[in-house]
Subunit: 142 residues, 2 copies
Amino acid sequence: MKLTLFTDYSMRVLLYLAARPDRLSSIAEVAQAYGISQNHLMKVVNDLARSGYIESLRGRGGGIRLGRKPADINLGELVRHTEGGFDLVDCGSCVVAPACRLTGVLQEALCAFLSVLDRYSLADLAAEPGQLERIFGAVGTR
Amino acid sequence: MKLTLFTDYSMRVLLYLAARPDRLSSIAEVAQAYGISQNHLMKVVNDLARSGYIESLRGRGGGIRLGRKPADINLGELVRHTEGGFDLVDCGSCVVAPACRLTGVLQEALCAFLSVLDRYSLADLAAEPGQLERIFGAVGTR
């Protein structure tokens, strides 16, 4: 069982921005910090900007920063957004779907999963901003 | 977020066998019933046989059947087995892993997810064996 790469990268971007609250960041430096592709991040950043999780300032001296306080970015809400649908198994193609109770059971399990995430915010992940800042500093971002 | 195809197919095989308790089934007919590849099922069936979820009788007149009663096949235990590891996100490659609390949060959410599955057995999914039997009969298995 895996969360999508889209969710993974969304969390990474937000965590990076939370650790560097007093400045604008660039997609290039987030990509460099995590050693991941800038192209992959572009789509993620556009989505996060559209949905208000980050602010994107264009032009010379522009960049991205958090659009809300870390404490106001709830992880359950974020993951519901970035995952889109949660099709834990592909029942659509399954002949027994009408008579099978698995969908209901998985739905109940998923609710329990998300209820836990609902109790945490981005601020809980970046609980030691100094430490994250040191890590990002050490991987060569300005 | 998605369970692996291996888990999906394992559940389908067990559900099929649970619905046809008084006979031996073949991999070919399970594949036909669900419209999925026999090759993909082979690996799943071998694993289920190795782990005692099903019995495989070789030779002429052989076939597969459940190795335990449906009520004794716990879904939490099954999914822990078929999923192997649960790497919800790939923290191994992430530079902030040492300072990030996401792993712990996701672990807690996963525990809540599995706790729900722990309350159900295969018998709960195949709660109406007559209905499943009719569906499997209608898709042309003998």
